[in-house]
């Protein structure tokens, strides 16, 4: 019963909006806003064929590589920076500058450096995703509990064990928050990176449909991106429940008291 209610709440509004769209656009003869029925009709033929292999999967693969690389780099750099005050003083002004640059303007520069292949697109994704992860990791590592730090020192928990059990796990709520932000940035940059000088990808395909005036197909691309966003967010939530189970447990226990 509770599950049913929760599912109902989650999909209620989307169902209503889709219904409104469906009926409001039903008799549409406007070229740029075709009926939703026509868009939905075009969806399977557009994406469930060659394009799945040629465009969707390459896009997702680049997103996965860029996103994971940004996680590794953000956490890997964030730990020493968070733990070391001098290092922080040196790099923080630079970070303020770098993260203020919108990653799309890096596309032309990265093209000069890395060409127009997959490397460039992955670098664009990394350049946007790394900041929320890095800055949140720094904040999380800075806030590691002193008593826990003392505990590690007196029980001689050192090296990798200390980095994992003290720093990364302590900072994990913040790291996960940064990773969540990075995921939506990553999806945006995946599309944007494919809009310049690309030959495959979801973003590339959508632009092609637009340029070819295949408007219903263009709309299917927009819907596909939305659906991918929902899917990735759900996968993220699953991973989060696994990684931060202890954290949500504490919060629930505190609420009960």
């Amino acid at each position: 019963m509770i599950v049913l209610r929760r599912v109902g709440l989650a999909i209620g509004l989307p169902v209503v909006l889709v219904a409104i769209w469906w009926f409001a656009s039903a008799g549409s003869t406007e070229f740029y806003f075709p009926p939703l029925s026509k868009i939905v009709g075009a969806f399977p033929a557009t994406w469930f064929g060659e394009r799945m292999v040629d465009d969707v999967l390459p896009s997702l693969l680049r997103l996965a590589i860029g996103y994971l690389a940004a996680l590794v780099a953000g956490i890997g750099l964030g730990i020493p920076i968070g733990a070391n005050q001098t290092l922080r003083a040196v790099v923080e002004p630079l970070f303020e500058f770098l993260r203020a640059i919108p990653p799309p303007v890096l596309v032309p520069i990265l093209m000069l450096v890395a060409g127009i292949g997959a490397t460039m697109k992955i670098l664009v994704i990394i350049s946007g995703c790394v900041w929320p992860v890095l800055l949140n990791t720094v904040a999380g590592v800075r806030a590691v509990d002193e008593v826990l730090t003392d505990t590690c020192a007196s029980y001689r928990i050192r090296g990798g064990s200390r980095v994992w059990h003290l720093m990364i796990r302590s900072a994990s709520p913040q790291i996960v928050a940064g990773a969540r932000q990075a995921l939506s940035i990553g999806i945006i940059l995946m599309v944007i990176s494919e809009m310049f000088a690309a030959s495959s990808g979801i973003g590339f395909t959508v632009i092609q449909f637009k340029d070819g005036f295949r408007i219903p197909q263009m709309w299917t691309g927009v819907i596909l991106l939305g659906l991918l966003g929902v899917l990735l967010a759900s996968l993220f939530r699953l991973a989060e429940r696994h990684v931060l189970g202890w954290y949500h447990g504490i919060r629930a226990a505190e609420k009960e008291r």
């Binding site: 509990d145 008593v147 826990l148 003392d150 505990t151 020192a153 007196s154 029980y155 001689r156 928990i157 050192r158 064990s161 200390r162 059990h165 796990r169 994990s172 202890w246 954290y247 447990g249 504490i250 226990a253």
Partner: protein
């Protein structure tokens, strides 16, 4: 053997020099149980952190087993007052107790045996799989004690470990610590602000003054080794010792 020699600790905060510990010297023999008691704010925790090698003293020396302390010494464990913050909330009880052993590279079979034994000895044999935050305060502190036991230290430092638990739990934990000490033969330094507790637990009470802290008196507790919450606390000798410590602490407070 643990010796503290002419230990001094000053802090510089905002251009102001605070002398936390003026001059503290004492020694603790192997296997001895010593309580350190003093008025609140007398630098008990600072002293303990210096002994544990977590805080460098401004001057003076600490030796553990003849070796000068410059960092956390080998074979020394600490039980902190803030049990909620000294346990890893993302590790289950068993893993919390096991982690220091794992970090020391101990083989798995040995680890399991030691951790199981330690948890049994604090009556937490049923709680292996729980997370610390699912337990009561007293149980959490027992996990921290089990971690110290499993670590098999030669010296155990305890920093007001029972200050944050209720009176009933506190009495149980006091008896638990007595039995652990007698069983393991560990050298134990127990810091507290509770005068009754300091007399009930140890073989000696070291009384500290207000800052700049020094040792006011080093009093031997000549109560029988078998102690009982009711019987011991109602003995005339207990009342006498308690009165003695109380008077000294009061005097130390007024002098500052």
């Amino acid at each position: 053997m643990l010796t503290v020699k002419e230990l001094r600790k000053t802090y510089d905060t905002k251009g102001r020099r605070v002398e936390a510990i003026g001059d503290v010297s004492f020694s603790v023999a192997d296997g001895e149980f010593v309580c350190v008691v003093g008025p609140s704010g007398c630098g008990k925790t600072t002293l303990l952190r210096c002994i544990a090698g977590l805080l460098p003293p401004t001057s003076g020396e600490v030796h553990v087993d003849g070796r000068r302390v410059t960092g956390p010494p080998d074979g020394l464990a600490v039980v902190f007052q803030e049990y909620g913050r000294s346990l890893f909330p993302w590790l289950r009880v068993f893993d919390n107790v096991e982690l220091p052993l794992r970090a020391a590279g101990m083989p798995k079979a040995e680890r399991i045996e030691l951790v199981t034994e330690a948890l049994d000895s604090v009556s937490l044999g049923e709680a292996h799989g729980a997370y610390p935050w699912q337990l009561s305060g007293g149980m959490q502190q027992r996990v921290a004690i089990a971690r110290a036991i499993a670590y098999q230290p030669r010296v155990l430092l305890m920093d007001e470990p029972f200050a944050a638990v209720d009176a009933q739990t506190r009495a149980d934990l006091e008896d638990l610590i007595r039995s652990v000490w007698r069983r393991l033969g560990v050298t134990l330094v127990f810091v507290t602000h509770d005068i009754d507790e300091s007399v009930y637990l140890g073989q000696r009470v070291i009384m500290l003054s207000s800052p700049p802290t020094s040792v006011v008196e080093d009093l031997a507790v000549d109560l029988p080794a078998e102690r009982d919450q009711l019987a011991t606390r109602s003995e005339p000798r207990f009342t006498e010792l308690r009165g003695r410590v109380y008077a000294q602490i009061q005097k130390a407070k007024q002098e500052s």
